[in-house]
Point group: C2
Chain length 533, copies 2
């Protein structure tokens, strides 16, 4: 051992980060190095089982494991990574209770920050589509789906009821397929508890950009999965993809529009912002690493692994972003850090995968293991047993085993676990012809046009009358809030329209506290009332 | 049976509302009446076990039961009650996905809306104290407590660490006692997983306004509970109460201040706003009902029960707001609605209680059953068995039984289940002398003074220098946001200070969209920079 105790900092607590920390804890003596792991959550998620959280067949918290118990010798910092200073070897993380940046110096750095869902260039997706990646995403989706069922049950308008009962899932890879399968199973299981929905049709639509789903698998298995999904009622739209969304519909590249209140999209992915701004060798945005997992240009001090890297094995094969590869990368990475500390030759990454597995729920799955293709119940048993076996910790194994057993005996849970919060100032997107609000609606927010145009229309005896056309920089909707009456006109987007939406509560608080802000809207209301008369 | 099918509307899904619906489903034939229940959640909470959710000894969702499964013949409307029109017999509920009010007409109305926590006249409590009443409250408290432990573990400032490790609970009734007991047990159990907290002292402080806790119980039992809590390290402050709070401390009536980052208050209670504005007979704010549970002045058409009413038994005893009374009230109420429909004499409420039970966790409880006082392990076994037995539905019984068994084998779960959301525009309260922000802090929000005054102080070589004094209507904190630098001065409250806090994200969005808003702050920043030079 040479010199002082080394500081190893691991960024990210997914499969790659956690398995690196665990392996380092085993390999290194406490006096050789301190291990610090930065993650925005204090738990690690068992990603393959996350879709089952949506349907409630695994309880919310049973799919996660506290990092402090998985890596007892690691110092966990539950913050966001905000900046990596490669020159001074310092990681800056987000502030905690006090607004001060926290800086963490490192001798050796492991970057395993994964990917994020990125809707750049897809209007309205950020505002209306739900990504599926984290536990919070899964819970949000579950709560939203229960919410639309509840609303559909007490809704009298058949148009709105149909929208509430339509769910669009974008992306036909493992993640999208498992999500749509679980959602479809869940809804059909709980529908009977909704007295007015028993006879209603529920549409679950899967949209995929290629000619068949599951590009990760051999064609026969993908076709098997398609057949099973269709048999259960899932609609599959191939060779098309989500390009835009509003609060009322999903819009596909082909021009097809699916009226719906629920859009989930598992694609497209991008590196997290902190890595996007990192100045280092990259391949189509992903960090470029050597076959020893070293960040190119920073060999011997920085390693990168998991979904955020572009990695090839020694034999030149591209390494896919899966858990089985991430855990093997972690072993190589930990060994190479140990070699850097103790001296020694770095190991190369040679693992080329054992196979692929995807669950379709309800006793069905597809698997391709060491070249053998299996589908149906056998694949499903394999899926469950393999993943249960791979779960670290006896507690998790027991808990998930019990959940699965309970789900055989009792129907799926349908309680909606909602945490209260006002929605706050936000953006919204409308397509041409969309109604922003109807005359007679309750006034719940004020709108500022950021891009596009809209028409203000009044219902008169002679028919609808165009009262005004508004454009970027204009405000509307203030009247109903200032006078506490219902909307006195209908507003309809005449082009693609992007607005900033200030909800009633925030509007009133700002109006009271910043008089100049309130004056803008009062003045406008005075003008508009004058014009009306 | 006389006339058309009757519409029965039940408001509230607590013990009182749910048991009324269940009893009505049994008593009435489907052709006699439609039953509609309005509740903001689609589940019913088993309130006595809610404190165990905080500590994780019962899993989040196992303490609730879907209302649709408990009351299969009832139409559930998952909305908030906004208005009760006694004249036209119409209930208005909050809008769903569309901003339109929903109106529900009734022939017979059951009001069982419970109580809310009300911090009126207690500065800073709304902003800084967490109520404990709903499942969302329990989850919020759990997440917050895990958050302070995580932050304490990576915090270097010993002062802040002490604040992070101090928890104040207001109210020494059943609810407050069970919460402080569970929290104290939980923290001591998980502390060993926090590498830097193992040797740190954690303070759990219970504040109660009278001379002893548990006013609902006989003195010897209350003293036993006090002894147990103290033995486990809980500090008990008697004859005092919370009167104000800031983000840094709890302030008691005696003038005592407890520096802390966690305040939970189970008191005081008030009727929900929709009942406050209801024009009917009341007793100290609670709805006044007859011994047949009829709302005074609306006999034969409106019944009220549960925590929102003032009720005396036939023998004149005041009925306490507990689950055992609420379920009996529900039986009487359902019988009387049935009598109103079919004709018959209303039943009177005569139930006078079987006893009281309170858990202290960790194998200890206090009980007073049919006059017999029990404490310790026997009372605890009684508590667990009785409540498990009382749980409706086999699934809930099995799930909670498993949770309790798992908790014997494995340590408490410490994963923090956080749902992402930006915090938005909010209020904050400071006491004289409190620091709003320090020179050098990151600029995370802009402040508008609503009440009080504060000093702007700069650190200079000769020592701190007072630069300005600001008062109601003034803004501050804009400089760091406009120029994206750290705070260039310290701001300290010189009186009690109430501010509106506009976070960076909202500030920038408003500035871009409403130029007049941005101009207010830019102008101010120009003036202030001029003055500085």
């Amino acid at each position: 051992m040479v010199g002082a105790k080394k500081q190893i900092v691991i960024l990210g607590g997914g499969f790659a980060g956690i398995y690196t920390a665990r392996t380092l804890e085993r390999m290194l003596r406490p006096e050789e190095a301190d291990i610090c792991l930065v993650n925005r959550e204090n738990y690690w998620v068992y990603q393959p089982m996350l879709p089952e959280v949506i349907s409630g067949s695994i309880a919310l918290m049973n799919v996660v494991c506290p990092i402090r118990r998985l890596c007892p010798r690691t110092n966990l910092v539950m913050r966001e990574v905000e900046d990596i200073d490669l020159t001074n070897r310092i990681v800056t993380v987000s502030p905690g209770f006090r607004p001060r940046a926290k800086k963490i110096p490192y001798d050796y750095l492991v970057i395993a920050l994964g990917e994020v869902t990125n809707y750049y260039g897809m209007p309205g997706m950020l505002e209306n589509a739900m990504p599926f990646r984290t536990l919070a995403d899964a819970i949000t989706i579950r709560n939203h789906v229960i919410h639309v069922l509840e609303e559909a049950d007490c809704e009298d308008d058949p148009d709105l009821r149909r929208k509430l009962l339509t769910i669009v899932v974008g992306g036909g890879g493992f993640s999208g397929v498992e999500v749509v399968a679980e959602l479809n199973n869940f809804i059909h299981e709980v529908k009977k508890n909704y007295r007015r929905l028993r006879e209603e049709k529920v549409r679950c639509v899967l949209v995929h950009s290629r000619g068949r789903i599951l590009p990760e698998m051999a064609e026969p298995l993908a076709l098997f999965a398609q057949k099973i999904l269709k048999k259960r009622g899932v609609e599959i739209i191939l060779n098309d993809r989500l390009v835009a969304a509003t609060s009322e519909k999903a819009i596909l590249k082909s021009g097809l529009e699916v009226p719906c209140k629920t859009i989930i999209s598992t694609v497209p992915s991008a590196n997290p912002p902190v890595l996007q701004k990192l100045d280092c060798a990259k391949d189509k945005g992903s960090l470029l690493v050597t076959t020893a997992l070293e960040l190119v240009g920073h060999e011997g001090s920085i390693w990168a692994l998991g979904d955020c890297v572009s990695l090839k094995t020694v034999s030149g094969k591209v390494v896919p972003p899966t858990a089985q590869h991430a855990t093997r990368e972690a072993t190589t990475c930990a060994a190479n850090i140990s070699a850097a500390i103790r001296g020694g030759k770095p190991a190369q990454f040679t693992f080329e995968g054992l196979g692929t597995l995807g669950s379709l729920g309800h006793g069905s799955a597809v698997a391709q293991i060491l070249g053998v293709k299996i589908s149906g119940w056998l694949a499903w048993m394999l899926w469950r047993n393999l993943y249960l076996f791979k779960l670290p910790g006896l507690k998790s194994k027991v808990r998930i085993g019990i959940d699965w057993f309970m789900h055989l005996l009792f129907p799926a849970d349908l309680a909606q676990m909602r945490l209260e919060h006002e929605s706050g100032i936000k953006n919204q997107h409308f397509e041409p012809g969309d109604i922003v609000f109807h005359e007679g609606d309750l006034g719940d927010s004020v709108y500022v046009i950021e891009k596009g145009e809209c028409d203000v229309i009044k219902e008169e005896e002679a028919g609808p009358k165009l009262v005004a056309t508004l454009q970027a920089g204009n405000y509307f909707g203030e009247m109903a809030l200032l006078s506490d009456v219902t909307r006195n006109a209908t507003v309809r987007a005449s082009t693609a329209l992007d607005v900033l939406l200030i909800p009633k509560g925030d509007f009133n608080r700002l109006r009271q506290s910043v008089p100049a802000f309130g004056e803008v809207f009062s003045e406008l209301a005075r003008k508009r009332t004058g014009r009306d008369n």
